[in-house]
Amino acid sequence: MTIIVKKITQIIAGPIFLYGLYIVAQGHLSPGGGFAAGSFIAGAFILLVLAYGDKLRHLKTEEFESSLIETLGILFFIITALGALLLSIRLGFIPVFFKNFLTKGIPGNLFSAGIIPLLNIAVGMEVGGALFTIFLEFVIRSSKEGK
């Protein structure tokens, strides 16, 4: 890629990533949530790979890490749901899968809505990891084929 593309990517990839983090943190207050945030985070990394693809020689490592994050995301989601089931017995609620056992707080504050922010983070990890893994897999396999 030309130097213009590379410089612009340097400038905007960081803010896109930060915007993804903001969306996942505010998922229970404003439009967004885990799905949108995951796509944004994957998009920031995809932009970097598209601009600097020929310089990065560690795409295999990246692929391993992104699939690891994806797996951790789905694990985190299931553990939160199971933990809600087990802890709600201990706390005296009716035991339900996905029980919102944490305190609701004041609606509108950042720390509110019980386990919804935790599940949002898990979904964001899952979606971001999955989309980035799909993209990397296509890039790696097809570039090998070309040579």
Partner: protein
Amino acid sequence: MTLFILCITLFCIGLYGVLVKRNLIKIIIGLALVEYSINLFLILIGYIKGGKAPIVEKAAEGGIFVDPLPQAMVLTTIVIGVATTGLLLAIAVRLYKKYGTFDIQKIKELKG
């Protein structure tokens, strides 16, 4: 009413692509068109005239909201759609590597 008919027309165009076209990429595009039209149809059903986006504001609680349930369902559908499209494209790439063509009739005639 007109909107629903136009939406199902988009669905039928996608169906036409899946049934008639011989190129694998065109078939994948047709499937994606079908998915998009169904998403749009669900959201069109849930819309209420003058309704706001379903986010409860601190100040003005109340008022009419559009239906949040179809939006929640379509939110999951979009992400599943990109995953299935990726899977289909992966299969298409494998088939191209093996046979050297995207034509499904030729692929059917050639023996693996």
